[in-house]
């Protein structure tokens, strides 16, 4: 379902251009609004739809296999921490869903340098950051070289 942009809603802010993983949302030079310049490289990931502050971007299913008349709309609300979906079938039936997207405030992650610096012994060990505590088990599991054998295992 490649994306498209409604002329009357888009204000040319460029959020979709900035976020699109496929680099297919660009600003039209004449209209100064966004458009999908390469629909056959659109994954329907909805990154642009979710990022659009004007709700100006929608999708129309891939022409090769999606009959017209459907609609799948998303509303992602960061402050509320939810995403809401409204599906409309070709025959008019509807379904609605809502899911949480995050349980902590945006920007609240503690960076790795905010933890106490590890010592030289830890650097030489096989443990990664926050281990073994973050594993919730007492010790990082390990093997010894003699446990590895060549040949077919059935």
């Amino acid at each position: 379902m490649p994306t498209f942009v409604y002329m009357t809603r888009c204000d040319g802010c460029g959020n979709c251009v900035d976020i699109c993983p496929s680099d297919i949302m660009h600003i039209d030079k004449t209209y100064r609004r966004a458009y999908n310049l390469e629909p056959n490289m659109c994954w329907e990931c909805y990154s642009c739809v979710k990022a659009c502050p004007q709700n100006a971007i929608d999708c129309r299913g891939y022409a090769d296999f999606a009959p017209l008349g459907h609609s799948v709309r998303a509303l992602r609300e960061e402050e509320k921490g939810t995403i809401s979906w409204k599906l409309k079938f070709r025959d008019g039936r509807e379904k609605n869903f809502e899911s949480p997207i995050r349980t902590t405030p945006w920007g609240s992650i503690k960076g790795p340098a905010d933890y106490e610096a590890p010592n030289a012994d830890a650097m030489k060990s096989q443990e990664l950051a926050h281990e073994p505590e973050a594993l919730n088990i007492p010790k990082l599991p390990a093997l010894t070289p003699d446990q590895l054998k060549q040949g077919v295992i059935s």
Partner: protein, 614 residues
């Protein structure tokens, strides 16, 4: 866009350069910073790390979690599982290493704010299957990207890395990378003591089933352009198991995932006449692969094989029986949210075709092949294993270092470590990140040097397609047909056709043989020559051109590996018509390749497979 792409050169120096800011790259950045407080850590990404890589759209499950805290699984169990699924051939040392660390990554994701589903009775993470836990992962990638941004010294978005740079004084040591900014056209020269490749696997090397607008709805992201393979191949790194492409059984057209359907919703498949069909093909499959047919769970490729045989027998379509499960409102919600969380396109296909799985059993299909290192497949670079137990043949330096000094990898980049998925890719990035810090510390004053001649030559090569277009464009009135240049889409479609017809794509029922592969290589050679005549109208098309170059290199590698392995190890992924059976006597081994960077010739060899006992 700048008026003269390539005019400005920007130099960026770092201790550790992370190429690709997906799950693996974010893990690498995080861990490098934890251990290397004083290090200059740079992440470079062709899109925007907030929504880049295969997890850009979100995920509804984390497919690699041990649950060691509840004694649900141990790392050894995961090794046995991956080995079984890949028909005996995985780097068990690498797989064990990811499995022993992966729980700590997942616990961090939860602490960072990723909504995990929990079993109301036990309070544990809700299991979808033995290895999978269920999440509300719409913002999985933005959350992980936040952690990576806090770790990195600098993140450079919208820069397409085209080549690695090698040390002026040591041709087998990495010294950085070059690329261009797809917005400004500035040429970037990254000098770095260590490089970690966290780039993506390859979609769009085999012709997809949909070739109109729907070609964008590949199962793996269309932006996964095989840079994970092309960058190390160009630098002369050894690759492994590149023939082990993956074919997915998925819901038709949208390629919506089936994992939650099989494992959590307990739906099952049947043929057009409502019959179970997998057992029909038991004896036939046993003739091809022997006792592997009795392994449980049935390997992914063998389930595909039964599906394909049933379709060829004329009893398609194969359908997923959903009508029973979807009577339960909880299961119905899970079924839909599963798609909305990670494959919205499938929900659209069903809405558009009036398919409500509560009343209609939806069709399944098998996808075109993909090359990747993180799913039920293990193509990628040949990497050094963990210091504490990897056998000597697998250990020549730092953990996850390739056969080029200072060049590390994780996720789709690293071969042999199947079934790592999102959490395992992030974890492998962490492993590589810590090792790279150690490598840089040990270098001391013995630092790599980039050659100005090398990067200036590369600058000309990188921007040549724009020059080709500018010169050739005036020959013609309008349109896309020129006698002087090809557009990136032309090259892409030729590549997909070659791979499809000669290397085992959908149109040949995933079947190839030595004469077909030989011809395929001849045609790939001509395509490579034609790549000197690519025309790029703008920087976006220049990005597509370089993605295509990377896809072609990955494809060439796949073709050489497929030729070298004279057996059919994974029926259902691909078939060698001239060697239709699994052959453990000669091929219970890894295939290794190296492309000589000087001559472009490929050298193939075998490497031993080591198993953890039992």
């Amino acid at each position: 866009m700048s008026s003269s792409p390539g005019k400005k050169i920007i130099h960026v120096d770092s201790d550790i350069l992370v190429i690709g800011g997906g799950m693996a790259g974010c893990g690498a950045a995080y861990e490098s910073r934890y251990w290397g407080r004083d290090k200059n850590i740079v992440v470079v990404e062709k899109a925007n790390i907030e929504r880049s890589g295969a997890v850009a759209q979100g995920l509804y499950a984390i497919n690699c979690y041990m649950g060691m805290q509840w004694d649900e699984n141990q790392p050894e169990d995961h090794v046995r599982y991956a080995r079984n699924d890949l028909m005996g051939l995985v780097r068990e040392d690498l797989g064990y290493d990811i499995a022993r660390h992966v729980d700590s990554s997942v616990h961090k994701f939860e602490e960072w704010g990723l909504p995990m589903m929990r079993d109301p009775e036990t309070g544990r993470y809700m299991r979808e299957g033995k290895w999978q836990i269920m999440i509300h992962g719409e913002s999985y990638k933005p959350i992980v990207a936040e952690a990576a941004r806090k770790a990195a010294t600098e993140v450079y978005n919208r820069i397409m890395v085209t080549h690695l740079l090698l040390d002026k004084n040591n041709a087998n040591r990495v010294a950085g990378a070059v690329g261009f900014n797809v917005r400004t056209g500035d040429f970037y020269v990254f000098r770095s003591k260590a490089v970690i490749i966290g780039a993506g696997g390859a979609s769009h090397i085999f012709k997809p089933r949909a070739v109109g607008e729907g070609m964008g709805r590949t199962w793996y992201a269309p932006w996964s352009s095989g840079s994970a393979y092309a960058l190390p191949i160009l630098a002369g790194a050894k690759m492994t198991q590149m023939e082990n492409r993956i074919v997915l059984t998925r819901f038709k057209d949208g390629y919506g995932p089936v994992g939650a359907y099989f494992l959590h919703l307990k739906t099952y498949t049947e043929n057009a006449y409502g019959e179970e069909y997998e057992s029909t093909w038991y004896e036939h499959t046993k003739e091809l692969v022997g006792e592997y047919v009795d392994h449980l769970p049935v390997p992914t490729c063998l389930r595909n094989h039964a599906f394909l045989e049933e379709m060829k027998a004329g009893r398609g379509p194969i359908r997923m029986v959903t009508k029973e499960a979807f009577q339960d409102p909880h299961k119905e919600t899970v079924g839909w949210e599963n798609f909305l969380g990670m494959t919205i396109g499938q929900a659209i296909v069903w809405a558009s075709q009036n398919i409500d799985p509560k009343y209609i059993n939806p069709e399944l299909t098998t996808s075109e092949p993909y090359v990747m290192g993180s799913h039920a497949t293990c193509s990628g670079a040949w990497a050094s294993g963990p210091e504490d137990y990897a056998p000597s043949e697998y250990q020549w330096g730092y953990n996850r270092m390739m056969t080029v000094d200072g060049l590390f990898g994780a996720g789709d980049t690293i071969g042999g470590s199947a079934h790592k998925f999102s959490s395992g890719s992030f974890t492998e990035g962490r492993i590589a990140g810590k090792a790279a810090v150690q490598y840089v510390d040990d270098l001391g004053n013995d630092q790599p040097e980039v050659s100005e001649e090398e990067f200036m030559n590369l600058k000309d090569v990188v921007f040549k397609p724009m020059e080709n277009y500018e010169v050739g464009r005036n020959e013609i009135v309008a349109g896309t047909v020129s006698p002087s240049y090809l557009l990136p889409i032309h090259g892409l479609q030729r590549l997909e056709k070659i791979m499809d017809e000669y290397v085992g794509g959908i149109s040949s029922h995933y079947t190839t043989n030595e004469p077909l592969l030989t011809r395929g290589l001849e045609l790939l050679e001509m395509l490579k020559e034609d790549m000197h005549h690519m025309g790029a109208e703008d920087l976006h098309q220049l990005q597509r051109t370089w993605e295509l170059n990377h896809r072609i290199l990955a494809s060439e590698s796949v073709t050489h590996h497929t030729m070298f392995r004279q057996e059919t190890r994974w029926p259902g992924y691909y078939y060698r018509g001239d060697h239709p059976k699994l052959d453990d006597d000669d091929w219970h081994c890894f295939t290794l390749s190296r492309r000589n960077p000087e001559s472009g010739d490929w050298e193939m060899e075998k490497a031993p497979v080591y198993h953890i006992v039992d």
